[in-house]
Symmetry: C2
Subunit: 416 residues, 2 copies
């Protein structure tokens, strides 16, 4: 079965938000063996929505729609689809009660226009919404399926997981299994040269490389007939790739570098603290995305001012004066200082010039020093990064997490 995703929302076409729903749905559909061949976005315009839906229904078995189910005047998805499919919108009492209950729970009055959200196409499967007001629905018609989901991701995702995935799972004849090899510390071209023969002879599984900001991922995808999933066509291919790419491979489970590091720290019980300057808390905020990190993460000091570097981290005034805030020497003292203050196994520091201002010939934008202190000393690394402020901060985070990962792996024996 193949499906496509059709998002409705002028705000997407105006560039107010990115279509992260398409990303999420695609990933989950692929997980259950449903090919997504197209994404489309169309505005809150009935004529163009109708045209887009016609195109989609011609080339795909299922169309998963998001957006346009809100309470406002320009939310027209249901109305348009119902018209195309020749179905009436009827009041779904149970959904109306849920909507009323939602407003009671969040302790706000229900606006009159929310009632519109309880009108759904007749003879459809209702998709309950436990995190918002707009229910969704599944319409089966002439061998095709149209699914309507609301736009807000916090509502859409649970509805997809709880109702849509189980709906599809029972219908798919194949299973598509993808594994992701996540790589840091080697460019896309250099990596491809090391495995080009594997890519060229691929049939099943297939291998596809792609580059993201500062890192590379390989997707290895095998397609199985149902009940033949245990054949495992993937593992031998992954083992071969791993043997060629060595320790630049950091995850075989499609985890982010920060997730990998967070889990390593938790599993090995390595306590950690940070002293961040140019990243401004970004390293800490990424690591604290990981539930349970409070077991090992003690504190961070975001020491933007020199005063903070001296007071909270014990960086020497002379060091700042002689070498500057962005220097190997300051990074080393910051790392040792935060480790000491927080009394953690390791202390990690970052200082650099994220730009756009603040660069000089000697210390250009993109110059960053990172350091890691443990009980036996401090190691450091100089980075020379390119790109804008956002990229420099993000890529710095990758290097920081890579440094921590390598430290934990290198000290694994001792720690266990």
């Amino acid at each position: 079965m193949n499906a496509e995703i059709l998002a409705v929302g002028t705000e997407l076409l105006m560039g107010q938000i990115a279509n992260t729903n398409a990303q999420y749905i695609s990933k989950r559909m692929n997980d259950i063996g449903i090919n997504i061949y197209f994404h489309s976005v169309v505005g809150d315009n009935p004529a163009r929505l109708k045209d887009s839906l016609d195109i989609a229904l011609k080339r795909s078995d299922a169309v998963i729609m998001t957006g346009g189910l809100g309470p406002t005047q320009d939310d027209l998805t249901k109305e348009t689809v119902a018209q195309i499919m020749g179905r009436k919108l009827v009041l779904h009492e149970e959904s109306l009660e849920k909507i009323k209950g939602f407003f009671q729970r969040i302790n706000r009055p229900m606006a009159q226009n929310n009632v519109k959200q309880a009108y759904l196409p007749e003879d459809s499967i209702i998709i309950p919404n436990n995190n918002g007001t707009a229910p969704g629905c599944i319409i089966e018609n002439g061998g095709k399926v149209i699914i309507m989901l609301p736009g807000p991701p916090s509502e859409m995702r649970p509805m997809l997981e709880d109702t849509v995935i189980p709906y599809f799972e029972s219908k798919s004849p194949y299973k598509l299994v993808s594994k992701y090899i996540r790589i840091f510390g080697i460019g896309e071209s250099s990596m491809e040269e090391k495995i080009i023969d594997l890519i060229e002879k691929q049939t099943n599984p297939t291998i596809a490389p792609y580059a993201k900001e500062g890192e590379v991922t390989l997707r290895v995808t095998a397609r199985y007939e149902k009940d033949k999933e245990n054949d495992d066509l993937i593992t031998p291919v992954i083992e071969e790739i791993k043997s060629r790419l060595g320790d630049t491979v950091y995850s075989l489970e499609n985890k982010n570098l920060e997730e990998v590091v967070g889990e390593l720290l938790i599993n090995k019980n390595v306590s950690i603290s940070f002293a961040e300057s140019c990243t401004g808390g970004l390293v800490s905020s990424k690591l604290t995305n990981i539930a349970g990190i409070s077991q090992v993460f003690n504190r961070s000091v975001v020491s933007y001012s020199n005063q903070a570097k001296m007071e909270n981290l014990g960086v020497k005034k002379e060091t700042l004066e002689k070498f500057g805030a962005v220097s190997k020497e300051t990074a080393v003292e910051m790392a040792a200082g935060i480790r000491n203050a927080a009394d953690t196994d390791i202390g990690v520091s970052i200082t650099g010039i994220a730009g756009p201002g603040g660069g000089t010939d000697e210390k250009p934008v993109g110059l960053v020093y990172i350091a890691l202190a443990d009980k036996s000393g401090v190691r450091h690394k100089e980075l020379r990064l390119w790109g804008n402020r956002e990229r420099i901060r993000n890529v710095t985070c990758l290097h920081v997490f890579d440094m921590i990962r390598r430290w934990v792996l290198g000290n694994g024996e001792e720690l266990n």
Copy 2:
């Protein structure tokens, strides 16, 4: 002129990345009066790419393509487009030199497959890439325009700005001007009820509301004949809306709440420090996205451990024992403590339960206390948020920035 965006990349259809390029390009095209009516995404598959391009060329004057210009085997955009348009790919020497220069600059060897990137369709306008290896191009054909840009945003964006925008700007007969009214502290439905009469009688400008995580935006869009931009159809509408929504309006320039707050702090020269617990550095990392913030941002302490709360912030042991780390009392002491330690005009604290674990009946997931200390005391606010860890952390940031914004506005007289 109307245009659409066609992204090429199986990684988009597999859900590995979101199509943020479509967002960026849409916003910029709308800024210069070019309507974007559709986004599409298709995989690295020549047949489906051809079909998608056919559909796009039928309904749009211009098709802006992103992705598939990389050095690897599955990057096929140029080859497919050239074939459809009946054009040869020819080596563009200048681009080859630029690619070689790029690798020299980043001090890495050039892989042989990068040469492929210098082959471009004959008779096209080359779009130089100063931040990566793949040049883009503009092909004019039978009254239609196809534009090809690389996928990485850090390469695509400057190419759009430097070559594509100027290319279009000279061709558009209209100018579409959009203003965004950004609102925090009122729900979408309640807001719409206050301005429904304005929305219903809209023609030019049009008014469209939409909700994002925790906040609401109104887009007001006017369409002008060229050289009639000074008519200003927008200001009277915005003034009317503002008078109805009061101080929940935080920006008329489509800035994020953190940008508004960052600029307020810088302009009013209000020094600030943070003590973050459940947000784990996210508030600081958002504020330090703003260039120049180092003028007023002194430091943050991400005090995950109670030890850090006591040592760095002077929170009393008794307070933690009696009321707990997540309490009004702890938040107040954290705010006063960081203000005192950093010697800043204001100190802001956050402590709460972001989940998924750690909640109790008395203190459920989503309970967050925020506080702001100034020279005359500490104010605080209790939040009861819903959603997952990510949403709770993000919406907390909005409340924190709103609290700071209101403080700065309320103390404006005194500060100037």
